[in-house]
């Protein structure tokens, strides 16, 4: 737009920017993002790791597509790995062999792809835990929490479909288990399996189908969700940890340009470097050791990729029989008997279902119990939300018990105990573990809060032992500075809210249940130190000081 006083840039960068901007109009973007403030904390890194490993997956996966042949046509392997020469296998397996042995750097790319996949799901999971334990999912970020949860599920889907592509013995066996689980679904299961495999297992259709899921549909969905996810992060602005100068109304941190962008951009290369290091030195998925898929052989002690483990473990924990009662129910219908395969359905669907349902619903559950519908941009230190931290720990233990069960045979051989005993113990832990975890974690949080109170009221131990004129020893306590004191006292403190009558003066059943939960969560709580309490403590302290700080004497 030619106006009378046109902006004339004076530097080369300026002229270039001016050229581009007067054609595409990017200055608004630069103004918006160039100095946008992002809070910095090591725990905010996990989301970045997830993003970067996904980029690595896109890069390495695209390389693999140029050589991988997603076909189940039966051919005879004739590549340069001698032990398998002359063996019949699918074209998919043979091309994966070729990527490994006859494409220079191909093995490296496969390893980068597989290790990135493991790290991708791991960083997604840790990122979610970070968001959960710090309460970052609270209003206005509930929807982004849900989007993140769907991303995790899509990550699992991407991993599973990819793992199945090479059509080696292990991946075929994984599909065999999927076939068994699908068939267990009542009424539709058999058809689903037939549709998925194009007929009976294994058929010759499933790899091409998994391929279009793996390289197109699932990544497209992930990219879409990722864009929504990041868009919402920008809209909400990042949360920040509490502390002096950080309020619910401001963002304290570094500007995108240059510090934040440099750190985040540099971090991509660091993640890449670490993945490359691992991929160079640690072998993963050596399909040439497993051989092509064949329904007959299987090697003991093989493991699925780690993120599938919890479902596999749940399948292992379920008893097929209780005494003489079989969990395969034969239901007599007028047209004949049908089978409800609870021994597979229950473990395959219920634990994962409960875990994900509670996870998705948690922001609303918490809001309902606490009646706290305010916007939260300040995070909680996990100790300052004992109920939530304890629930999270219970969920983690629930998951980990199932996960451990997927390695029950390895646990048994490693520790020289009977396999069946390992399973019995894990079955008990499956039910009791989360309860213990809840109880212990809450106790730990409350003690940490009490310790914080102690520090504010009586100062921190300075590590200096003093001898009083009377000869008594005591440790010098140093009062915390105002910044630390603010950090330790400024938390959001939830109280038990008894059941409230509604407008008509009636206390509804759901309100009673809410109050019961609220009581369960917040009955025990540690309130932050108030200025008046501190004053009282100081008064008392002053008195003691005259007495030579006897109350802190190490002779006690």
């Amino acid at each position: 737009m030619a106006t009378t006083n046109e902006y004339t840039p004076s530097t080369t960068t300026g002229r270039l920017a001016n050229f581009v901007d007067s054609r595409v109009g990017a200055s608004g973007m630069v103004k918006e993002f160039g100095r946008k403030i992002f809070p910095d904390h090591w725990s905010f890194m996990f989301g970045e790791v997830a993003l970067y490993t996904f980029v690595l997956l896109l890069l390495s996966g695209t390389f693999l597509t140029f050589f991988f042949d997603p076909s189940m046509t039966h051919i005879t392997y004739n590549g340069s790995y001698v032990p398998l020469k002359g063996i019949g296998m699918s074209a998919a397996m043979a091309s994966t062999m070729d990527i490994s042995f006859d494409v220079r750097g191909g093995l490296f790319m496969r390893q980068v792809h597989h290790w990135s996949a493991l790290l991708f799901v791991a960083s997604l999971s840790v990122h979610m835990l970070r968001v959960f334990f710090t309460g970052a999912f609270r209003r206005p970020r509930e929807l982004n929490w849900v989007v993140g949860g769907v991303l995790l599920i899509m990550g699992l889907a991407a991993g599973f479909t990819g793992y199945s592509l090479p059509d080696d013995l292990l991946s075929g066996n994984g599909l065999r288990i999927i076939d068994g689980v699908m068939k267990a679904l009542p009424i539709v299961g058999t058809y689903l399996s037939m549709f998925f495999f194009g007929g009976e297992f294994p058929g010759v259709h499933v790899i091409p189908r998994l391929y279009s899921l793996h390289i197109m549909i699932v990544p497209a969905v992930i990219i879409l969700l990722l864009v929504i996810h990041l868009f919402m992060v920008v809209t909400h602005k990042h949360t920040q940890y509490p502390g002096p100068g950080r309020t619910n109304d401001n963002v304290v941190g570094f500007p995108v340009g240059p510090v934040y962008a440099a750190k985040a951009g540099g971090f991509f290369f660091i993640v890449f470097g670490i993945v490359a290091f691992i991929s160079g030195l640690f072998q993963i998925n050596p399909i040439w050791n497993y051989g092509p898929y064949d329904p007959s052989p299987v090697s003991a002690g093989t493991q699925p990729d780690w993120y599938i483990g919890f479902v596999d473990g749940a399948l292992r924990l379920m008893p097929g029989y209780l005494g003489n009662f079989s969990f395969e129910w034969i239901i007599p219908f007028p047209w004949g008997d049908n089978t409800l395969v609870l021994s597979v359905l229950l473990p395959a669907l219920v634990p994962a279902g409960v875990l994900f349902m509670v996870m998705f619903a948690w922001p609303w559950i918490e809001r309902w119990v606490t009646k706290d519908n305010r916007e939260h941009h300040l995070l909680d230190r996990p100790r300052n939300a004992p109920f939530r931290t304890a629930m999270g720990a219970a969920g983690v233990v629930f998951y980990c018990v199932m996960w451990a069960a997927a390695s029950s045979d390895l646990i048994a051989t490693h520790f020289h105990v009977a396999l069946n005993d390992v399973t019995y113990w894990l079955r008990i832990l499956f039910f009791l573990g989360p309860i213990f975890a809840f109880w212990i974690t809450r106790r730990i949080c409350l003690s940490l809060q009490r310790k914080d109170r102690e520090i504010v009221l009586h100062g921190r131990e300075a590590g200096i032992i003093q001898m009083s004129p009377e000869g008594g020893f005591s440790e010098k306590h140093e009062e915390v500075d105002v910044y630390k004191r603010f950090l330790l006292t400024s938390y959001n403190d939830n109280k038990y809210i008894p059941a409230q009558p509604d407008a008509a003066g009636h206390v509804s059943g759901s309100e009673k249940r809410r109050a019961a939960l609220s009581k369960f969560f917040f009955e025990d709580r540690v309130a932050p130190v108030t200025p008046s309490e501190l004053e009282a403590a100081h008064a008392a302290h002053g008195h003691h000081e005259v007495e030579g700080e006897k109350q802190d004497s190490i002779e006690k």
Partner: protein
């Protein structure tokens, strides 16, 4: 705190912020004072950091060069031993790792030591203002009003009907994901049958050589496939149903139920190898205990009791293949299995 945040959030659309609890609280002392870094005060330290960053970038360049060495010098297509391949893979990995870490660590070091480390403060804004939300709702109301859809239920209802129906063909299009061209009934029937039939010889997996009853020693186990499997139309599909484990134990130790008395040959018994849990092949036979163990989820079957489940998640016993010997002394099947093999499904009954 902004003045946009009074009122109860339930009643107005106004958003309450979590800070709004005026209580007996310590006042916010504000951001702690900024501590200058060494490089902020000492130009020599700054120069040193500069050199460190440059060194890291140089390491990256060397890493990339090393990658090329690994690619061209260590890698010769098609004539490498496995050990050489591993060395090359490690070298590619290390080259890439140094190339990337050099850049990454260099940039982060640069940002941490030489770029300004003053934390800045920015105010948050409402996600969308009360006014905007009201305007948006008004616009939507106007749009809906102008279509007249509320006043003309006939249009609305037929539109709903049309839109509800239109996607259904897209779902039905997927009917032919099943490539067999068979009816549901035929498929269910097919799942009940395997290649085993009267007189089909039991042969070794994978060689396909037939087995004489006299070959099967007490305590031994054979992996068995039906004769002619390699010529079957869908070899893997048939194999996935027909694989069998053949074992011999003392007939005295076996509990045999009614109707199965003649399914074994002198204690030689054949059971489906496909686990009834979710279908892994059962690989382990412990001859002392006569237990069969599935490696996938540890279902354990008792051979002495017609392979009933004694531990683990499987919900029914392994199907038994009735066998006998033919005129030449080879083991053959009397018939197909009497029940479907493998994992249970709705129609199994």
């Amino acid at each position: 705190m902004g003045d946009h945040s009074h009122g109860s959030p339930e009643e107005s659309g106004t958003v309450a912020k979590a800070d709004d609890v005026a209580q007996d609280r310590f006042p916010d002392p504000g951001l702690p004072p900024h501590r200058p870094r060494l490089a902020d005060r000492d130009p020599r330290a700054a120069k040193r950091h500069e050199r460190q960053v440059a060194l890291l970038f140089t390491i990256s360049i060397i890493g990339t060069l090393f990658f090329f060495v690994a690619y061209f010098v260590l890698g010769r297509l098609g004539e490498m031993t496995f050990a050489e391949l591993r060395v090359q893979n490690a070298a590619l990995g290390l080259g890439t790792a140094f190339a990337m870490l050099g850049i990454g660590v260099g940039i982060v070091h640069w940002a941490k030591t030489l770029m300004p480390d003053h934390e800045l403060v920015e105010q948050r804004h409402e996600i969308s203002s009360e006014k905007d939300r009201q305007d948006a709702v008004d616009i939507i109301d106007t749009v809906i009003e102008e279509t007249g859809i509320k006043r003309r239920p006939l249009i609305r209802n037929t539109l709903i009907g049309a839109i509800a129906l239109a996607p259904i063909p897209a779902i039905f299009m997927f009917r032919d994901l099943d490539r067999t061209g068979k009816t549901a009934h035929q498929m269910i029937e097919q799942m009940r049958h395997t290649l085993w039939d009267t007189g089909v010889r039991l042969t070794r997996d994978p060689s396909g050589t037939p087995i004489k009853a006299s070959d099967v020693q007490l305590g031994s186990a054979f992996h068995v496939i039906p004769e002619g499997l390699e010529n079957a139309e869908n070899m893997l599909n048939e194999k996935a149903k027909a694989v069998v484990l053949l074992m011999r134990m003392d007939p005295q130790e076996m509990n045999i139920s009614e109707g199965r008395e003649d399914w074994h040959v002198d204690g030689i018994v054949a059971y489906s190898k496909i686990c009834t849990h979710v279908g892994c092949p059962i690989a382990l036979y412990e001859q002392h205990t006569h237990h069969l163990l599935c490696p996938c989820h540890q279902s354990t079957f008792d051979l002495a009791n017609e392979c009933k489940v004694i531990f683990g998640p499987a919900g029914h016993a392994l199907p038994q293949l009735p066998i006998t010997v033919d005129a030449d002394g080879y083991l053959v099947a009397q018939s197909d299995f009497h029940e479907p093999v493998g994992p249970s499904y709705w129609e199994r009954g």
